[in-house]
Every structure is written in structure tokens, then in C-alpha cells.
Symmetry: C2
Amino acid sequence: MQNALVEKLLDNERRAVARSISIVETSNSDSVQLLKKIFPKIGSAYRVGITGPPGAGKSTITNQLTKYYRKQNKKVGIIAVDPTSPFTGGALLGDRVRMTEIGNDEGVFIRSMATRGSLGGLSKRAVDAADVLDAAGYDYILLETVGVGQSELDIASAADTTIVVLVPESGDAVQAMKAGLMEIADFFVMNKSDRPGSEQAIASLQTILMMREHDEKSWMFNIIKTIAPENIGIVEIADEIGRHREYLTSNDLLLKRREQKTKVRIKEIVENKIKSELWNESGEILLNSSLVKVVLGTSSPYDIAEKIVENFKRNEL
Amino acid sequence: MQNALVEKLLDNERRAVARSISIVETSNSDSVQLLKKIFPKIGSAYRVGITGPPGAGKSTITNQLTKYYRKQNKKVGIIAVDPTSPFTGGALLGDRVRMTEIGNDEGVFIRSMATRGSLGGLSKRAVDAADVLDAAGYDYILLETVGVGQSELDIASAADTTIVVLVPESGDAVQAMKAGLMEIADFFVMNKSDRPGSEQAIASLQTILMMREHDEKSWMFNIIKTIAPENIGIVEIADEIGRHREYLTSNDLLLKRREQKTKVRIKEIVENKIKSELWNESGEILLNSSLVKVVLGTSSPYDIAEKIVENFKRNEL
């Protein structure tokens, strides 16, 4: 049955794409089976990560960039990792705007993913979904995430080119640095660059960039100025993505980079697999029955942990 | 040799405390040995987590609260998890101010921890260090972290009472909600409450709090207004911590809560232990030698991951 689905997916049938992503999102054995089947067909899509602090305008930039690529007749897949409210569980308003603007285009596929309350690692699911879109033949896959939290950073940095979007508000560059955004950026976008303080923000970002060590041959980090709602600077973003892609390809770095990302990914798959085996029903029971010993002071968390690891290795969980 | 150290630690000898924390920070076998030895002696300290967005004034509040507790003749241990620059690797300026203000007080022990580039899980190390301070006889342990990233949230929520510090800047409450801060707060502090927009910020926070489900008996979330540098509202924070402690104790929740936190902690210890065994030298070699197969398309990341897990369980790594 999955074979028929895979065939339709490879033909880029919309419903098959949606169904396949739903399967990989469950992260169960069907998911692994499907991913193994499509694996030989992936690798031709170019993956772009778009991240930055909340309110920087990442969705608008993603939308505008999508419209630009559509004019070049390129197919675009979007994976948007949304911060959902812990109270309502709902996605953000931005999604509706997005759907009316580009969602009805047959050459665009959009999937939103929640950051909370779902099984399995978020970055694992997002990268798996990107593989599905890759197999379906999308030319560009845009991975849009909020730049808070390690798993969001992991997703954005799993791309071939990673863009960090900032706004002129003071301290933004410094906070981005603290949040680890600087390390994953291939270039920066200063959005809302018509706002007061824009030039100072760019200057302070440049100062921080100059502090980075780099040799003569290494990639030069640019800062692209945009006003996304007015479509100003979007062509320049696309050009910079092209320049970075060219840089990676001509220096034999694209494959090396993908190899490094694959390494991170395999580690995550291994760790998730072990976690799910560890904390199956009997593992939870063993853990729960040991808690009282810790609280009563008769056993330390480290004694309990050692016992659980030993049991796991003896397949006794 | 460790027994002598443990004795001095239990006598709250400053150098023994510092040395013990350094040992648990390495997360090696010495660390586990030490933690097992001190384990029966912990549990009397009350742990307070202080978190919030960068620039909210967490350090100032921690310092003022420490001075308040010192006047009550309580000993205070502080674990400050600092966002360090990825470029300089240095700690923030705030630390120096802190040291001159309270660092010379014999009844105060301060330890800063970096969030980056260190071995082992950050939240594991921070909670281990809190155990050391607990064993050394500190009455209050303040765990101060920036509210970005899962491990920072884990540390703050490992406390008995968790305080989320916000400032009036618009959108703060909504962003705090998105960052998962609302779920871990036992109460809120609106710092810099003399700034414009303070009342609106409190109103919007109250609206969000009202959306939370709660029954009649449950804890009521308060919002404390402070101007930390002028020491305004600090007594009220201490009172609210006391009220929450009383609530937990009188409803038999303190032990239940600690049991739940212990569960999270044991899981983390188990997972870290397995990770370090997995990615030992031979594990890395197996992984690295498999990468080329993935990039050439002859093997999927899932095939490689399954092989690694099987080998691990057969103790072949």
C-alpha cells in the first residue's frame, strides 16, 4: 500500500504529499519505512533555513521569496515551525494571511508544525518532512522557524543556506548573538530597514561579524536590507542565496556540509529511538517505583539511573 | 580523599564548596561518587528559580533578594546560568557588579555557569551544583537563568518555587507565553514597573492568566510590581515565595513536586549516560564511516541509526 503512496508522492500529487508528511510526523514504524523508501530520491532540492526573533518578519520574507521563486517557475515547499500558545494550542494568525497569498498556488506546498505537545523530536520531524518535499520534486524548501530554543536552531541550521532575519530594535544583534543565531547564519537580513535605528543596528551587527575569525578564502557574511511587505530587498535575498549556493558548490562544500548535517541527524534518530525504547511502559514503571527511594533519601538519582541503564542494556526493560 | 572533602563541604568550608561544585561540573565518575555521598544530606534548602527574558533585571532581583535573606540571617547560594558570547566565551558584566555587592559576604556563595561549549547537560550540572549547596547548608538556593532555550527553562523549573520576571515592554507577556515561561511560573514579577506601559502590561498578563484553567483550591498566580535597583517590591517577592512555600507544604505538594522533578532529573541522567557511552570513540568512528553511504544514497539515515542502536545494545560499541 505504501508503494502506491510513494509513487504518487514522487509524481508530486498534492494529497500524497500531505499524507506522506502526516505519516512522517507520527514518527512510528510506518514513518521509518516511508523515509527509507524515498531516501534514494532525495538530494536535488535546495534547502533554505529562515530564522530570527519573534516579530522580525520571517513569514513575510518567506512569502515574498516564494512569490519570487514562483516567477522563476521554481516549485517551493515551506515548512513553518510555529510557536503555538500553550493555552489555546492554536497556530498564529500569519498562517491565514499566508494561505490566501500563496496557499492556492499549485507550485507551493505549505506545512505548519507545532513546537509543543507533540511526540518525538521537533527537528527530526521537520527534517523528515523536508525529505518528503524533496522527493516530491520541490526545487526550494524553505524551513522557517523562530530563533528561540535549541530545536528551532537545529532546524534552521539543517538547511544548505541559513538566513537570520533581524530588525533594527536596539540590542537585537547582541541578543541574537546570545541566542546562538550568529553561529548558524550564512547571511543576515535587516528587515524593516526604514525604521529608525536601522543604520546603527547594521553597524553593530557588522562590528560583531568582524570579531569573528575568518581567513581570506572564507565566506563573507553580507547583510541584506529589506522592507518585506513592500517587496524591497527580496531579489537581493534570492541573489545572496544563489551566491552562497555557488560558493558551497564551487568549493566542494555542499556535500561536506550535508554530510555534517546527516551526522547530526543520525545522532538525533539514534537518541530518539533509544529514548522511546527506554521510557516504554516498563521503563516508566521502574522509574516511578524508584522515586520514593530517592525522596526518602535511601537511594540517589545516580544509583537509580545506573540501574535503569544496566537493565536497558540487558534488554530487561 | 573524597571523604575529607565531603566532611569539609558539610561544614560549609568555602573552598570545599567551590571544589565540590567544580567536581560535579566535570560530570565524570568522581562527580557521581561525590553526589552519591552527599545525597543523604540534602533536602533542607529551599530552591527558587528566577527566569525571564534578557534585560528583565533578573540579576538585580537576585542580588536584592539575597541581601534581604541575609538580613534574616539566612545563608544564600546562587547559581547563575549566564548566556556567554559565542565569540569571547566570557561571562556578562553583571557578574562583577554582583561580586562587589554581595560576593564578599561569607553567608553567600555564587557560582556562574556558561551555557555553551561545555560537556554534559547544562541543567544536569546546575541541579547537581544546587545539591552541593544544599548539602553545604545554604537555606535558600537561587537558580537564575535566562528564559530562552529548553535547558534554561528546565533549570528554573527544577526549583520549588519558580519566578518569571518580565518588564513592561509591549508584547513581553505574549512572547513569554510563546517561550514557555507561563507554564513554569509560580508567580510573576513585573520589574521596572515605573516605566510607561506598566499597567497595560500587567493587564495583558492578567488576561492571559485568566485564560488558564484553574479550580477553586488551586494556587492563585500573583503579579508583584518591582523597581529592583531601588529595592521596591523585594520584600513582596520574599513574602510571595513564603506564601507559595506554605501553600506547597500545607497541601502536601512539596514532596510530590520534588518527586516529579526527581523523575525528570533521573531521565536526564540516564539519557546523558547513554549518550556518552554511545558516542565514545568507537561510536563516532562507526558513525563517520557510515556517512558516505548516506550521501551516496546507498543507505538511509534510518538504516544507519538502527545499526548503531543494535550495536549499542549488544555492547559492541
